[in-house]
């Protein structure tokens, strides 16, 4: 039962990675691709980590896995912001299309 749930979570995580990868391949510009990759990887890694979490018995290891996920979440959100900023600096035309408070 636990194994089945684990597999379900891991496969759902992989599906998110797949969707993110397709997004990176298919979407037209840096901002859209960033959107695809950060969303998909955060959720994908979360599901993967939960799947693996169910296989562990040591609470300390579970905590470690959770912390790794949180660190990746924070790093990916920040990195995404910064890369988007860099991309906008190179494309002034895109910045002009943003709503006023996001410029």
């Amino acid at each position: 039962m636990l194994d089945a749930l684990s597999l379900l979570l891991i496969f759902s995580g992989l599906a998110f990675y797949l969707a993110g990868t397709i997004g990176v391949l298919r979407l037209p510009d840096t901002l859209c691709r960033l959107h695809a990759v950060t969303k998909a990887d955060n959720l994908g890694l979360g599901l993967l980590a939960s799947g693996v979490l169910l296989q562990l018995s040591d609470p300390l290891q579970m905590l470690k896995l959770l912390l790794i996920w949180l660190l990746v979440l924070a790093a990916s959100a920040t990195g995404g912001q910064l890369i988007a900023r860099h991309a906008l600096d190179e494309r002034p035309d895109q910045r002009a299309e943003l709503p006023e408070d996001a410029k």
Binding site: Q55, A77, G79
Partner: protein
């Protein structure tokens, strides 16, 4: 997880690896090929993890997929306008390459199945275990990397330096970024200390569990890249001269320790058992600094200003 369930996971990863490899080779455009290559590296990292080699998995994800991928993307961006897609190969080449790949796959499958059997505890693994006491560390992987087969690791560090020289010769350094808006700047302020702590932990834990200089260096480099992207000058990242010196320091210290061992024991890189633990930590410490500097320099790109003035240089 039951062996049956794991078999499905293994089959899935094997299939994925093949599909991605073929996809990368025959992608419509170079950009697609590069992206598929990056994803391929991540799947290979998972495969290494399944083969119970988490160290190699981490290194593959960080360097094989992350760094190599970033380099390829940068090369793609900077390359002069040329043919958008690779020329098609003739049919006989496709068939020949396919046959070779099929042979390799069979060989790997045989090796994998063979390793599953009693030879997983073969003579080499036994030798490592029997000599773990004199290695100075309790993680067998670190013992092999930094003591029994220290040559390999020294050469890996040298290869990294060579790659860095290649990137440095590509063009001038990227201009520094402006300061980020308050929210991103605040997040960076949180993240950088976290990354430094996580990197130090990986360096320290390498003595008795998966971790080590390459993984720690990758995290420290990530912290430096974040600081630069966010324009956080107050972190006072070392300048190009210091970064270059640090990038060489790992190789230098490793070589010096190896030479000292040669004088002491008559064999290059043969660490004395009493000192091995401290020496390995010393080497790993400098290797971490070197790898972090090298990766950060790769991100910054750029050669020393003196190269610009050289006569006949493409940038001059």
């Amino acid at each position: 997880m039951t062996p049956g369930a794991l078999l499905y996971l293994d089959l899935l990863m094997m299939g994925l690896m093949l599909v991605l490899a073929v996809g990368a080779l025959y992608a419509r455009s170079l950009r697609h090929a590069v992206i598929l290559f990056i994803v391929f590296g991540l799947v290979v990292a998972l495969v290494w993890a399944r083969l119970r080699a988490p160290d190699i998995a981490l290194a593959e994800a960080a360097i094989g997929s992350g760094l190599a991928g970033a380099l390829l993307l940068a090369a793609l961006r900077d390359r002069r306008r040329g043919a958008e897609s690779a020329p098609r190969s003739p049919a006989w080449q496709v068939v020949a390459v396919g046959a070779v790949v099929a042979g390799l796959v069979l060989l790997l499958a045989w090796a994998f199945l063979d390793l599953q059997g009693e030879r997983a505890n073969g003579p080499l693994a036994d030798t490592v275990r029997a000599n773990l006491d004199v290695s100075g560390v309790s993680n067998p992987v670190t013992a092999v990397l930094l003591n029994f087969r220290a040559y390999d690791t020294l050469l890996e560090l040298t290869v990294l330096l060579a790659a860095l020289l290649g990137v440095m010769s590509l063009g001038p350094q990227r201009p520094p970024m402006d300061a980020a808006e308050p929210m991103a700047a605040g997040l960076i302020g949180w993240l950088i200390p976290l990354l430094i702590v996580a990197g130090s932990y990986l360096l320290w834990v390498g003595a008795h569990a998966p971790g080590g200089a390459f993984q720690a260096g990758a995290l420290l480099a990530a912290a430096a890249v974040l600081a630069d992207l966010g324009g956080r000058r107050e972190f006072r990242l070392p300048g190009q001269t210091w970064l270059r010196l640090l990038a060489v320091a790992g190789c230098a210290v490793f070589t010096l320790v190896g030479l000292a061992a040669l004088i002491g024991s008559g064999v290059l890189l043969q660490l004395p058992p009493d000192w091995a633990g401290s020496l390995i930590l010393l080497i790993e410490l400098f290797a971490t600094a070197s790898i972090a500097s090298a990766l950060f320099l790769v991100y910054l790109g750029g050669h020393p200003p003196s190269w610009n003035s050289r006569e006949g240089h493409p940038d001059a």
